[in-house]
Amino acid sequence: MAELAYREALRRALIEEMDRDENVFLMGEDIGRYQGTFRVTAGLFEKYGARRVVDTPISEPGIVGISTGAALMGLRPVVEMMTMSFSILALDQIINHAAKVRYMSGGQFSVPLVIRGPGGAANQLSAQHSHSMEGWYAHVPGLKVVAPSTPSDAYGMLKTAIRDDNPVIFTENPGLYGIKGEVDDDEFLVPFGKAVVRREGTDLSLVAYSRMVHVCLEAAERLDKEDGVSVEVVDVRSLVPMDTDTIFASVRKTHRAVVVYEDWKSGGFGAEICTRIQESCFDDLDAPVGRVGGLNVPMPYARNLELQCIPNADDVVEKSRQTLQGVI
C-alpha cells in the first residue's frame, strides 16, 4: 500500500494504461513540455514523447473533435481539459458528435474517449473558471460521467474510463489534487455504477460525490460530536451509470437523506438524486429529502463572497439538523 496524492494516483493510472495499450494517448493544453497545469501529466512527455503526449493549441472544440475522430478509428484518446469550464467551448463536439455517433450509426461506431480535468471552484478563479459541469453532461444520453473523491478511486476509475468504449466525462476537483490516500500497489479497477458507503450511520444519510464527500464527512463528524447523531455518508462517485441500490439501501436504513453538491443548486445533478430517492423510497422517509447546493449566482471573485457560494460543513450541518427535526 502506497500513500499517493490524488494527482499521483491519476498519473499512475495514465502510465499503466499507456504501457498496457499502445492505442492510448494523451492530448491537451500545456500537458507535455509544461508538465500539466495541475501536474497530473508530469514527466509523461519525457517518458512517451510528442506522439503520445500531444501538446495542443488553445482550441478545445478542435481537440475534442480530433480526438473523437481518432477514437472512431480505434484509438483511445485521453483529453485533458485545463479546467472543465473550458469544455463549454467543446460542448458541441461532445454532445452533438461524440455522444451521438454510437446511436446514429446503429451501433457501428463507438467513441472510446475520456475527457478529464478539474471541475468546480478553486480559489478565486471567478465566474468563468469555476463551473461544475458534471450535471450538464450527466443530462446527455451517450455519455458516462464519474466524479471520484479519493486517490484510490481516482486511480481505479480512470483505468476503467480508459478501457470503456464510450465517451466518459471524468471530473476531478481542484481541491482534491493534493489530498492523500492509500492506493493498493497491485493493479485494480474500480467499476462504474458502484456507490460506496464512506461512513456508516443510522440516523441520516448524506449523499454526495467528488469533493463534497469530504465536506459531508466533516459534517458527519460534527453532528456526531455536537448532536450525538449517527450519520452515514454515501459516495455516489459514478453519476452515469448511477448505483441507486446503495443509495436507497442507506436511506431505507436511516429514513432521512440530505443530498449535497457543489454545482448551482437549481437544476444540478443533486436534484436528480433527490428525485430518485423520493420516487423509490417515499414510504421509508421520515422527512423530506434535504438538499444543499451552490448559490445560484455566477462565482464571485472576492474570497468572502466565494466562500459564501460553495457549500461547506456548516451548511450541511444546518440542513441536516432541519432534516432530522422534520417529521412527516
Binding site: S59, I88, L305
Partner: protein, 359 residues
C-alpha cells in the same frame, strides 16, 4: 524544421522595419509637443510597471487570489494604441488587463481594489484581476476564456456601424488566443460586413507554457487575415514611438475605409504567465529573457528622450520614485478598503430580479 525551440527571431529590432509606417522618430527631429507626449508615455510605463509589482505583492501576501497576469514588458503596446485611439473608441481585451483601463482613465485605486476583491473595485469585487470593466470609459473587459471575447470585439464594431458612429473598436488578444476558432468566425463576418474593428494580436511569443512555434502552424499570425480579405501586418510593440505611428496609421485606415484590420504587434512578457507560473525554464531560457530586455520599452524610450535632451538621468530616477510611491500608496489604501457585504452576492445577476437565495 521550424519547431527548433531556439531563441525567438522576433527579438531582433528588424521586425519594426516591416512596418508600413515611416521608420521610428529616432531618425527625424521630434517636435516639442511630441517629446512632451513621450515623457508622459515614459511616466505611464513606470506607473504600470510599479502597479504590476504591487499587484504581484498583493498576490504573494494573500490579498489577491485566483489567476493574476501582469503586463510587465508589454507596456508600449497599450500605451501606444490607447494613446492614439479616440476617447470613445471602445476597447475589449483578455485577462492580462490591468493596464488598459488605467490608461483609459480608471484610477489605479479602483483597479487594485478589484484585484483585492474590494467593494470599491471596478466590478465591486466580483470580477477580480481578469475581469475589469468600465462602461464609463468604454472598456468592455476583461475576459478569461481565451479567444472568447474576439467576436464581441467585432460586435462592438457592428453596433458602431449600425448607428453610423465615427468610432473604431479595438480588440486585443494573445498569440495563443489566435488559435481559437471563434476568432475566424469573427474575422469573416467583420470583413463580410465591413466592420470598423482592429483585431490586435499581442504576440508575446508564448501562450502560458507553450511557445509560439509549438502552437501555431505558421507563426506569422497576421497572415491568417488573408483568407478573409482583411488588411494585415506585423509590427513592433516595444518601441512606443513606432507603436504610436503604426496605431495612428491603422486606426485612421479603419476609420476612413470602414474596414477591419488585423495587426500583429510583436512584444514580450518579462514576467511569468501568471502569478502562479512556477517554472519558466520549462518554456524559455534566462538568456532569451535577458535578450528581450535589451528592448525593454522603458529602456528604448528613456534612451531616446535622453538623446533628445527631453529629460536627464535624474528625471528617470525621479519618475521611478514617484511611481513607486504612488502605487505603494494605492496598495495600502486598497488593502484597507471594505470587502463586499454578504448580501451583495445576489446583486447584479439580473437587471431586474434576484436569483433564489440560499444553499
Amino acid at each position: 524544421m521550424r519547431r527548433n525551440g531556439k531563441g525567438a527571431s522576433f527579438l531582433s529590432t528588424k521586425e519594426s522595419k516591416k512596418s508600413k509606417s515611416k521608420p521610428s522618430a529616432s531618425n527625424g527631429k521630434p517636435t516639442r509637443k511630441e517629446l512632451e507626449q513621450l515623457v508622459e508615455d515614459l511616466r505611464w510605463m513606470y506607473r504600470i510597471r510599479e502597479f504590476e509589482d504591487q499587484s504581484m505583492r498583493a498576490f504573494r501576501n494573500g490579498l489577491a487570489g485566483g489567476y493574476l497576469h501582469v503586463y510587465t514588458g508589454m507596456e508600449a503596446v497599450a500605451i501606444g494604441w490607447i494613446g492614439e485611439k479616440r476617447e470613445d473608441d471602445p476597447v475589449i481585451a483578455a485577462y492580462r488587463d490591468h493596464a488598459y483601463p488605467m490608461l483609459m482613465g480608471v484610477s489605479p485605486y479602483e483597479v487594485m481594489c478589484e484585484i483585492m476583491g474590494r467593494r470599491d473595485g471596478t466590478s465591486k469585487g466580483k470580477g477580480g484581476s481578469m475581469h475589469l470593466y468600465s462602461a464609463e470609459k468604454h472598456f468592455f473587459g476583461g475576459w478569461g476564456i481565451v479567444g472568447g471575447h474576439t467576436a464581441m470585439g467585432a460586435g462592438l464594431a457592428f453596433a458602431i456601424k449600425y448607428r453610423g458612429e465615427d468610432r473604431v473598436a479595438l480588440c486585443f488578444y494573445g498569440d495563443g488566443a489566435a488559435n481559437a476558432g471563434i476568432v475566424y468566425e469573427a474575422m469573416n463576418m467583420a470583413s463580410l460586413w465591413d466592420l470598423p474593428v482592429v483585431f490586435l494580436i499581442e504576440n508575446n511569443q508564448v501562450a502560458m507554457g507553450t511557445r509560439l512555434e509549438y502552437h501555431a502552424a505558421d507563426p506569422e499570425l497576421h497572415k491568417r487575415a488573408v483568407g478573409f480579405g482583411i488588411e494585415h501586418e506585423r509590427v513592433d510593440g516595444m518601441d512606443v514611438i513606432q507603436v504610436r505611428k503604426d496605431a495612428a496609421r491603422i486606426l485612421d485606415y479603419v476609420r476612413k475605409n470602414q474596414r477591419p484590420y488585423v495587426v500583429e504587434v510583436m512584444t514580450y512578457r518579462f514576467a511569468g504567465h501568471g502569478a502562479a507560473d512556477h517554472d519558466q525554464s520549462l518554456y524559455r531560457s534566462k538568456e532569451e529573457v535577458e535578450q528581450a530586455k535589451k528592448r525593454d520599452p522603458i529602456l528604448l524610450l528613456s534612451q531616446y528622450l535622453l538623446k533628445h535632451g527631453a529629460i536627464e538621468e535624474s528625471d528617470l530616477e525621479q519618475m521611478q520614485k514617484e511611481a513607486e510611491k504612488e502605487m505603494a500608496e494605492v496598495y495600502e489604501k486598497a488593502s484597507a478598503a471594505p470587502k463586499p457585504d454578504p448580501h451583495e452576492v445576489y446583486e447584479d445577476v439580473y437587471t431586474d430580479m434576484q436569483p433564489e437565495e440560499g444553499h
